[in-house]
């Protein structure tokens, strides 16, 4: 996948580009808003990562202009401003996700992967499968190797979120946003407790783990055959 990174902090841009390239993406860098808009309009990219505060033209204007021109490419906005309505402004301008600086690289990568796959994986499925784990969205039931597993409504939502992103890293803040629709940074391990309950429910009686902890980033659901 080809990414466009619009970031005026050259040192940070260099590092982010390096990390993204190591994860298998091609990365172009633009150092200001005008250049960024120019490159984005050329239309060779699959995703744009744009800093909010940029010289010449700020990130929100870049996104807005792109949307006005009918370009629907996913945009991840980076910002040093983290307040709730800054985030709302960012999403309203046409951004698809919003990340507050400084962030862990793992968080950025997880969100980039999620945005890239969103378009492809948006099929209307009524059944999700991961190895011998099956989730029936219509009947709201979960079975593993044919055995029914009882989950609470929230655990079901959590599992659905993870299964829709099989093989992707899902961070704690992504879970809080995606499952609870809450945008704050918990200072305690509340999400981990929910995850360990879910894990316990779907892995207790089975040998093979499905949910894996990714150190320093979050979780991943994958059937390691």
């Amino acid at each position: 996948m080809r990414l466009l990174l619009i970031e005026d902090d050259t040192e940070a841009a260099k590092y982010l580009a390096k990390g993204l390239r190591e994860s298998g993406h091609a990365v172009d860098i633009a150092a200001d808003g005008r250049d960024g808009l120019q490159q984005a309009t050329d239309g060779h990219h699959d995703l744009i990562i744009a800093d909010r505060q940029l010289p010449h033209m700020d990130g929100l204007t870049v996104v807005q202009t792109l949307r006005e021109r009918g370009i629907k490419i996913p945009v991840l906005i980076l910002s040093a401003l983290g307040a709730v309505d800054d985030r709302i402004d960012g999403l309203r301008a046409g951004g698809d996700d919003y990340l507050t600086k400084p962030f862990a690289f793992g968080e950025l990568l997880a969100r980039v992967e999620a945005l890239l796959r969103r378009g492809a994986g948006a099929t209307i499925a009524t059944r999700l499968k991961a190895g011998d784990l099956e989730l029936d969205l219509l009947g709201r039931t979960v079975t593993r190797a044919g055995r029914k597993i009882d989950l609470t409504a929230k655990e079901f939502q959590l599992l659905e979120y993870l299964m829709r992103r099989q093989g992707q890293v899902v961070t704690r803040t992504m879970l809080l946003e995606g499952v609870w629709d809450l945008h704050f940074d918990p200072q305690t391990n509340v999400i981990d407790v929910h995850m360990s309950r879910l894990r316990n429910a779907i892995e207790r009686d089975f040998r093979k783990p499905l949910i894996h902890t990714v150190r320093g980033a979050g979780y991943m659901l994958r059937d390691e055959a």
Binding site: Y15, V84, D85, I88, A104, F105, P186, Q187, N189, V190
Partner: protein, 461 residues
């Protein structure tokens, strides 16, 4: 404004004091006039009667009782003094002359040389009784002469005068009370307008201004001064916000680079496991610094009222349920009970994310400070005018003296500093968020434990 509230104003007190003083002065003045009005004709009458008596006594000495009787008869027959009363009696109280039918008093000896008041009835039947003021004089040979005046007319006019005085005073009192009331109401209303506007400004809308009238009176001058002060405050708040934005950016960028370098360093295959273990915790510390900075920014923005622009209807009951669901497993894992006590609905105007952050801060505080086995109660109640959100625990609580301090940024109460890591800004963010929503927050003693009560105005569509 309610009458009893007007009576409590300082203007009403002042008006009452002034009114009372003025009323007392009026009463004193009127009483003096009344006394004078009564005294003057009385003295005149005494004078007239004394002169007449002198004249009659001289006639008696010159011509004896017959001459006096003749004189009296002529006085009563012809038109004498208006209302004049004469009577001459002998030892056995028989009338010798005069216009009284008989001696109206007791033993004449007792009244000799004295002034008397009595009532008499005229000889004709059906006539009214009249008050009379008179003097009695003893004449040689056991004769008694009574000279007096019918005072019914002067008493009547005096009564009328008294009545007029009482009514006049009552009217003045009523006028004073009415003016005092009107003035108090006027003043109270202007003060109330000013205080209502100030109230709304306190709740973070610094752009509002007081109304300045055209009269340039003391209220207009006060409003002008307050407006000048507000303009300055707003300017400073704006500067502070701008500074804050750039400081946050300036701080976040180096932090961002710091993280970038640390992460990059840790990724190098050549560094040893020991170095990795030494450096890795620095990333956690960095996380903490980042969170603190983020919280500080949130507080500054909430306090500045900048975030107030996006308001939606948020049901605190529904939000409390969601937060309960989110935090329950974490609480259980720490050996804590998390209970709910909810009304049916409690809508307020605000931002769901900020209110969720508020609840998260309160619940995470409980998670950090309440020892295992403790209990946390999350309750939401509402009536027509307000919604009350309470988080109560039976943990160590906060000393009464420390409660106000606990809401200031960066204060972590000392005895707990060793218990858990935390930015120490939880409660100040709570306060900032509550105030942004035009509410009030109070830390109370749950004996034992801490109870945080947040009161919000109810949603009005």
């Amino acid at each position: 404004m309610k009458p009893e509230r007007i009576l409590r104003t300082s203007t009403a007190r002042l008006a009452t004091v002034y009114g009372t003083v003025v009323l007392l002065l009026v009463i004193v003045l009127q009483s003096l006039v009344f006394l004078l009005a009564r005294e003057a004709p009385q003295r005149e009458m005494q004078e007239v009667i004394a002169t007449e008596l002198r004249g009659f006594t001289e006639e008696f000495h010159a011509g004896g009782v017959e001459r006096l009787a003749a004189l009296l008869r002529s006085r009563t027959d012809r038109l004498g003094r208006i209302g004049a009363v004469y009577l001459l009696v002998n030892e056995s109280r028989e009338r010798l002359a005069g216009n009284l039918s008989g001696w109206p008093l007791g033993d004449p000896k007792l009244y000799s040389g004295k002034e008397v008041r009595f009532r008499f009835r005229e000889a004709e039947p059906g006539s009214r009784s009249h008050p009379v003021w008179a003097r009695v004089e003893e004449l040689p040979g056991y004769y008694w002469l009574l000279v007096g005046t019918d005072i019914s007319e002067s008493e009547r006019s005096l009564r009328r005068f008294g009545l007029a005085t009482v009514w006049g005073v009552a009217l003045i009192a009523a006028l004073i009370a009415l003016m005092g009331w009107w003035y108090s109401r006027l003043t109270a209303r202007r003060v109330r307008d000013i205080s209502a506007t100030c109230d709304s400004i306190v709740h973070s809308d610094l752009s509002q201004r007081l109304h300045v009238g055209t009269r340039s009176d003391e209220f207009d001058r006060l409003s002008e001064t307050v407006n000048n002060m507000l303009a300055r405050l707003e300017q400073q708040a704006g500067m502070l916000r701008a500074t804050f934005g750039s400081v946050a950016h300036d701080l976040r960028t180096p932090l961002y680079r710091l993280r970038v370098r640390l992460e990059e360093g840790l990724l190098r295959p050549e560094i040893s496991r020991a170095t990795r273990e030494l450096v890795a915790p620095a990333l956690d510390e960095l996380d903490r610094v980042q969170r603190t900075l983020g919280t500080l920014l949130e507080i500054a923005r909430a306090e500045s009222g900048d975030a107030a622009r996006a308001q939606e209807q948020v049901d605190l009951v529904a939000l409390a349920r969601e937060m309960h669901e989110l935090y329950l497993p974490g609480m259980q894992e720490r050996g804590l009970q998390l209970k709910l006590d909810l009304a049916e609905t409690a809508p307020v105007a605000g931002q769901r994310q900020l209110l969720a952050q508020l609840l998260a801060n309160l619940l995470e505080n409980a998670l950090k400070y309440v020892p295992s086995g403790g209990e946390v109660l999350l309750s939401v109640h509402a009536d027509l005018s307000r919604a009350v959100l309470t988080v109560a625990d039976n943990g160590p609580g906060i000393e009464a003296a420390d409660r106000e301090r606990a809401q200031q940024p960066f204060v972590r109460l000392q005895e707990r500093a060793d218990l858990q890591e935390g930015s120490g800004m939880g409660l100040s963010l709570v306060r900032a968020i509550v105030r942004l929503h035009r509410g009030e927050v109070e830390l109370q003693d749950n004996s034992p434990g801490l109870r945080v009560v947040c009161v919000f105005p109810a949603w009005r569509s």
